[in-house]
Assembly symmetry: C2
Homo-oligomer: 231 residues x 2
């Protein structure tokens, strides 16, 4: 990297899933070359879908141009796909960004902004298929790197995503150092954290529990994608 | 569980490591029987060691009694080990708690409050040995359950910790459901997230980078432990 400091612009928004953001934040924070900006429309606290309130560090109007642009996912992604102020902000930020990135359904926001068109990308497993509406190739993988588009799968994938991205930016040795400092040697108590490994009954149960919300998500995605592709 | 709602009291404090808290917060949030309280001395935003500002939901004075008491770790753990207001608060909370828990160096705060004396517990690998000063048996394990004391190792272990705890409280099936919804099927990009698996040079490098801070941590731990054991 030539620049002494790289600006990481991380979008935060109401009803996001906070771990989509806080996992990568923890990884990025190990790299002193990165200056992290948590950006929203204004400076009021942003509450995630479960009520965790985080303070933005900068408003959209004051935000510096990103070297790394990052978008988390979560329920609040639905209105954001139709929020022209946010989509315009993301397009403007992406112009200078060395990397355009997301975790979970954050990729659907990037897609709605037209920033993943023609790329391969991933998303939370429940919503992965929706990327195709936007002419994005869905890839069932924990982390997908396609050119300078780097996307992570659901929620907890943010740690894998961020370490992979840091390896791209700063090299493998630096990323391994961060991994060891965070003691990232995961030991999930159960097998079954992805639909490929979980018992089919459990997958069916999650699909049922999230069914009406996922239908709503799909409807909005289809509507936004139709406008994007044939404006 | 008999009660309709269980109070989860999660301590937040200046210069904590936010992922110690936000990983478990994400897991706990899946369980609608849990009411989560983020508690600090007052209601002002609490900045983690890397500048992430989180709002408390309640002050210590107003905090309900915990069913699950949780303490994260991080650099801010050092002054907390000598903070009588915090230690008194934790002792009072622990009296009603079904589970007394921590992630990372949060266990050193619990130990300083005398809440782990005689128990087996874990901690971030760099500080695990310091538990012994407090007559706590250090266990080199990702998650340690000893009676109603449940402790997690460094930073990222919080997700494994919280899923294990939820399995204790609500049973395996509920915990698996949460794991699948969070797509917790980790794929670390590198081997070496723990000192047992990392290259010795990398372990030495982390020890060197953190050496002076760890000496400071050890000095305070020894001082506090001496008072606790022979008051």
């Amino acid at each position: 990297m030539n620049k002494a400091t790289l600006n990481v612009v991380m979008l935060i928004y109401p009803n996001m899933t906070q771990l989509d953001l806080t996992g990568p934040f923890e990884v990025f924070s190990s790299f002193k070359e990165l200056q992290i900006h948590l950006v929203w429309k204004d400076m009021a606290p942003v509450r995630d879908v479960n009520g965790l309130a985080i303070l933005p560090t900068v408003s959209m109007a004051q935000c510096p141009q990103a070297d790394i642009l990052f978008v988390p996912g979560g329920a609040g992604q639905l209105p954001l796909m139709e929020d022209e102020e946010v989509l315009t902000f993301l397009r403007g930020q992406a112009q200078t960004a060395l990397y355009v990135t997301s975790v979970c359904t954050g990729s659907l926001i990037l897609a709605a902004a037209g920033l993943l068109t023609g790329y391969r990308a991933t998303c939370h497993w429940l919503s992965l298929n929706q990327l195709a509406f936007f002419n994005v190739e869905p890839v069932n993988q924990r982390v997908v790197i396609d050119g300078n588009r780097v996307t992570g799968a659901g929620v907890t994938s943010g740690i894998d995503f961020a370490l992979s991205l840091m390896a791209e930016v700063f090299g493998t040795e630096r990323a391994k150092l961060a991994q060891l400092r965070m003691e990232y040697d995961p030991a999930p108590p159960f097998i079954g954290g992805s639909p490929a490994k979980a018992e089919p009954e459990l997958v069916a149960q999650v699909r049922e529990l999230t069914c009406s919300f996922q239908q709503q998500r799909e409807q909005i995605a289809k509507k936004v994608a139709a406008k994007l592709i044939q404006p």
